[in-house]
Subunit: 97 residues, 2 copies
C-alpha cells in the first residue's frame, strides 16, 4: 500500500491544518486522532475506512462539505478508487493555559 | 451590492463551520471576527477586502490552501470578479469550562 502524502499548512498554538493527498491505492496507515478535528474535502470521492477490528466501511466525501469528529477516533483510511482524494484535516488544539 | 450566502455546516461546542458563497458582485458586509478562524477556499479566486478605514486590498484564494487569523479582524469581503467564490470559515470556539 502506498503512503498518503501530508503537508502541514497551518500550525499555531490554536490549530493545525494538514492537507492529505491519497493517490489511488494509498492509505494513511492506522492512527488515533488525539484532537477534535474537522475534515474539509477538497475533492469529492469515496474513502474506505478500516476500524481497529478490521471492519471496513465506505465513506462519501463531497468537495467543500465538512464534518466534525471528537478526539479518540482510530482508523486507517484507504483510497481504493481510481481518482486522487484530497482533504484538509483541521485539528483543534486543547488550550493549555 | 448583493449579499453573500452563508450556510452553517457544523455547529458544536468546539467549532462552527460556515460555507460562504459570494456570487459576482456580492459582499459579506462589514463584520468583526469574534473568534479565531481558519479559511479553507473551495474555489480559487480573488477577493476584495475593505478595511474599516475604507482601504481596499486584493487577496488571492487558492482552492484547498488554508490560512489562519486571530479574532478581532474587521472587514468587508467583496467579489468583484466574474466567477463565484466559495470558502469555508472554521471558527474556533473558546472553551468555557
Amino acid at each position: 500500500m502506498l503512503a498518503a502524502k501530508s503537508d502541514v499548512q497551518v500550525d499555531t498554538p490554536e490549530v493545525r491544518v494538514t492537507e492529505w493527498r491519497l493517490a489511488p491505492g494509498s492509505a494513511t496507515g492506522h492512527h488515533t486522532h488525539e484532537m477534535d478535528y474537522v475534515i474539509v474535502p477538497v475533492t469529492s470521492g469515496e474513502m474506505t475506512i478500516v476500524a481497529p477490528s478490521g471492519e471496513r466501511t465506505k465513506a462519501q466525501l463531497g468537495a467543500g462539505k465538512s464534518y466534525f469528529r471528537k478526539a479518540g477516533v482510530q482508523h486507517d483510511v484507504l483510497n481504493e478508487t481510481a481518482s486522487e482524494i484530497v482533504f484538509l484535516e483541521v485539528e483543534l488544539k486543547p488550550l493549555t493555559t
